[in-house]
């Protein structure tokens, strides 16, 4: 198929530092090309890919994220290129849109069918937006839980999880003596709940992640006083350190209290052969196979109890499940189906 991949206009692909959407775009483009598809990546200048890269605007706009001027400019120029390709007899079969809003809102004015991946949670404002414009594209959620929190008028969507390049991640069945918590130091992510659970289970806990702006008080009041006595804070971990931490952990603890749309850390943990013990929020019940690749638990006491049983789970089963469902290959297969559906829907219309 000929696929026009539409990245956001803010930062290049791959992202210079952190960029979740850009990572999905990078892996998906590579995976589609590996499967023999023809991919054109519309992205900010400085982007690199085996796809044909069309740098749409003159520069990236990392300091103007969500600004209408650049999003409208980026999308309108990309749409023009997509129309021009059809005019010269080389039409795209599908546009895969990762931009926030403008492409979807205008998708009914483009001749090529659009697939739109939902990268964020459904706030009230997002629900209003998707209630109006969701029907203009094939909507893809990154979990069923995310889709289920969308507006009825959107008409649902397909689920394709976010990809992880399993070849970039090591595996080990041999575990160290600690459990791991990794994330931003916010109440939603629950480092304080991880501490309570680990302490109740009598197991060593390593905490890794940044203290971001506005999180100092929470960290100082809820986390710092509880450090010591088997609980260690390591600061933010770089890519290599993260791999080491996952590899050696007996389990990843995810005592979250917000509807995480996907939760890449769970896939990262599983690919290293490390089970996940998590609260049943957002995508958790879909990502964690309860009793096979981890445990879905309701509170700190249940988490402590699950930590004691987690050695019974098979690290190889964690890796295998991740490869089957979250690998680039699995995600590419998922999107191939959605693309075919989008093309078929347009032909039927």
């Amino acid at each position: 198929m000929r696929i026009a991949m539409l990245a956001p206009p803010w930062i290049p692909v791959p992202a210079p530092a952190y960029g979740g959407i850009e990572e999905v775009v990078r892996l998906l483009s590579a995976g589609l090309i590996a499967r023999g598809h023809d991919v054109t990546l519309f992205a900010p200048p400085g982007s690199r890919s085996d796809a044909d890269v069309v740098p749409v605007l003159e520069e990236p706009h990392p300091d103007d994220i969500e600004k209408a001027q650049y999003e409208a400019d980026h999308v309108a120029r990309a749409f023009s290129e997509i129309d021009a390709a059809a005019a010269r007899g080389a039409p795209y079969d599908v546009v895969h849109d990762h931009v926030g809003h403008t492409a979807l809102a205008m998708a009914d004015r483009l001749t090529v069918p659009l697939v739109h991946t939902l990268h964020g949670p459904f706030t009230d404002d997002a629900c209003r937006f998707y209630a109006q414009h969701g029907h203009k594209a094939c909507i893809v959620g990154i979990s069923q839980a995310q889709l289920d929190s969308g507006p009825r008028e959107m008409g649902g969507g397909r689920v394709v999880f976010n990809p992880i390049d399993t070849s970039e991640w090591p595996f080990s069945a041999r575990k160290d003596d600690y459990v791991l918590w990794i994330g931003r130091m916010s109440p939603d992510k629950g480092p304080h709940r991880a501490i309570a659970a680990a302490r109740e289970a009598g197991v060593r806990l390593l905490l890794a992640g940044p203290v971001q702006t506005g999180q100092d008080r929470f960290f100082a009041e809820e986390v710092e006083p509880a450090l010591g006595d088997g609980v260690e804070y390591l600061g933010e971990a770089d890519a290599e350190r993260k791999r080491e931490l996952y590899l050696g952990a007996r389990a990843l603890l995810m005592p979250i209290r917000w509807p995480e749309p996907f939760g890449l850390v769970m896939a990262e943990s599983l690919v290293c052969g490390t089970p996940v013990i998590a609260y049943p929020e957002g995508s958790v019940p879909e990502v964690v196979r309860d009793g096979v690749t981890g445990f879905v638990v309701d509170d700190e006491h249940a988490m402590a109890e699950a930590i004691r049983r987690v050695g019974d789970l098979d690290p190889a089963a964690c890796r295998r499940d991740c490869e089957e469902r979250f690998s680039v290959e699995a995600v590419v297969r998922g999107y191939e189906e959605v693309y075919r559906e989008a093309v078929g829907r347009r032909i039927a219309a």
Copy 2:
């Protein structure tokens, strides 16, 4: 004609406090209706007008100005209504767009011709944007100077000045003993240059306008020390106080050093019968008729010299020129021509 007036999605029309674009939309809509046109105003909820008001989004977004989500949502919904009107046999003849970017960028995907008014100066980024998308609409500048600073690729545009409702403003030929400076306390606007000119001319000077965030230092260093001895700072003036100040002033001083695209204060001064003495920046040479409704001067010395001669000018000529060129009626006539051109251009295409 049937006109779809597209206001920005941020604040209602009329604006609760300050809103330059919303004021243009308010006056223009009223003036077009007075001329017998059929106007539908697509604007945020809470908008009031003699036009048919279509409140596009569920609420205004005063704290999210320029955010792509709301601009894309607003424009896409308005475009759908405009298409639906045609489908039910009541097409609009023209869309008059005052939204920043999304409508213009997508105007080639709408069947109704679009007129787009430029409300801001041409920054480098704006030039890039209009180089790409300017050809998709009939572009209207609020001065020739503004149009001339645009990109060549835009292909120029028509000039229609911003309107002032002359019936809302008083006139007096009898002047007090002071000259007036009014504006934000920024170096661009030149209150310090007005002080130097007035002092050289030996005339009393009243300064009115807010000290906005970031302007404290400039005010404390360049303005405050020069107060007293015939120079008075009045703070920000409300609507009524502004009228009194213009009415009694022998002249408005505009020693600006930036390319002001239009400069409504000049029209406000002229309508009260008060000549304008200004630097030849931006629209000034177009708005001020040198030697008739004011003087265009190069520096503080020339401004001082012009202050001595300004009593020779006829306040009634200032009022008359304002009525002929900046009144709602004059501006409506200008836009009627542009609308006809837009319709003709679309038919020819």
